[in-house]
């Protein structure tokens, strides 16, 4: 029976990548809200977004191999469109200095960062900006304390980088348009 006759049904790959994208889309649309990814595997994000057209920096060799299998080129941080990076300590932050932020002329050249974090404990952040009616607050741990001042210094809107924080199968999105205040 042809696919048309049986009706269109997404295969597992399509269903997974669609759900992953939807979680990322709502995470970025409503900064500070926790969205559920279909799987805790970070490679799932790469699977939904990345292919041979992308340049990726990844500081985790195991994950880097998986990302490379989707066809993306592994490059140094300064050339990357997508960065899978640990921002837990000074080592990660030293890399972050090189992150492409695009320019006023080409804001789309700013990179997207994907970093692990822990939600619900640690530093309390207050967010304002698009996607947030008044202000939103959330707590996040497992990130270097200087990250937020570095982000503020780096992101001169509309240039900047967009950040996805991953905690298990949950994601919080922090687009460059969001102002972050550490409480």
């Amino acid at each position: 029976m042809s696919a048309l006759a049986s009706g269109p049904v997404p295969d597992a790959f399509e269903a997974r990548t669609n759900a992953t994208f939807e979680a990322l889309m709502w995470a970025l649309s409503r900064p500070g809200t926790v969205q559920d990814l279909p799987s805790p595997d970070v490679a799932g994000i790469a699977e939904a977004l990345l292919d041979r057209e992308c340049r990726v920096f990844c500081d985790n060799p195991l994950l880097a191999g998986e990302i490379a299998s989707f066809g993306a080129a592994l490059v140094p941080m300064a050339l990357a469109d997508y960065c899978f990076i640990s921002l837990e300590d000074a080592r990660g932050l030293a890399q972050l200095v090189h992150v492409p932020v695009g320019s006023d002329l080409y804001p789309d050249a700013g990179a997207t960062l994907i970093a692990a974090a822990r939600f619900g404990t640690g530093a309390k952040l207050r967010l304002t900006g698009p996607g947030i009616e008044t202000s939103a607050e959330f707590s996040v741990d497992g990130l270097a304390a200087e990250l937020w001042s570095l982000r503020a210094a780096h992101c001169r809107y509309p240039a900047g980088f967009d950040l996805f924080l991953i905690c298990g199968a949950q994601v919080i999105g922090l687009p460059r348009s969001t102002q972050i205040e550490v409480l």
């Binding site: 042809s2 696919a3 048309l4 009706g7 269109p8 049904v9 997404p10 295969d11 790959f13 399509e14 269903a15 990548t17 669609n18 759900a19 994208f21 939807e22 990322l24 889309m25 709502w26 970025l28 649309s29 409503r30 939904a48 977004l49 990345l50 292919d51 041979r52 057209e53 992308c54 490379a68 299998s69 066809g71 320019s103 006023d104 002329l105 804001p107 789309d108 700013g110 997207t112 900006g129 698009p130 996607g131 947030i132 009616e133 809107y157 509309p158 967009d162 687009p175 460059r176 348009s177």
Partner: protein
Amino acid sequence: MTLATLTKPWAAFSYGFLDASAKREMRRKMLKAIAVPGCQMPYASREVPMARGWGTGGLQVTLTLLKPSSSVKVIDQGADDSVNAASIRSFLSKVSGAAETWDTQAATLIQSRHRIPEERLRADQVLVLQVPNPEPLRPVEPNMSVARQMHADADYGRLWLILYEQMVRSGRIMEGAAYPALVNRRHVMTPSPIPRWDVPKLHMAEHLTFLSAGREKRLYAVPPFTQVEPLVFSDVPYQVEDHGALRCHRSGVTGYYMNEIPQDNGGSVFELSDSNLGIKAIRRAEGAQVEIGPTWYENGKMPQ
């Protein structure tokens, strides 16, 4: 990486028509568009079985978002039953198995040409607007490289000049559709050729809006709760069309955007532009149990 890992078994067609690599590109650009509200992001704009200029941009965004549990509504100038809207809607459901609906309340995805529904959109709904010309600066700057520099510099003075000239010539701002609006206090966008009536619906809205131009290969977004301010002078307030007091001759409803229908005697009557709202109102008047959601405009006025 081998060829085998980059290929997959043969299938008659990709789910949702677009192939996986086209969808990944759309997803990347849609995320970028959300991150910089109102800023036009270039994208590849693949071939779809429809001529460019008939809603291919919106179609690609909708196809990327579709899943079997989606419920999709397609509007053409407010109507669900025009050839263009009906064809797009049946195509979308044919390639995705998603439900078709005319009801704004029931839809999860609303693709629209030139109108935003009168019923308020909810936080879980996505509005996809088809855009013929995404560049608000085109009337004042035909060179798109220069226009890009003007966007980079937030150099929008010449757009105010157009409005000023209209004021001088006609005594009021004549911009009818696609009224330029400042998004997130940074980028001016054209909200697609929606009437002035609809632009305030985008300001601090609960829903997510994508605006996509297939022919021009640019897409941009208005995330929820984003400021969308039409360009105005401080002493000349923004004015929507004077439709607040008009009455629909078919449903008897007043206070919404109307289509003017010329009559043989030289006069005209009006009918609701949002055709599904009209249908609901008529059904309700006939005694059917029909739920009409809260609307943006109340008694012909947008609450502040």
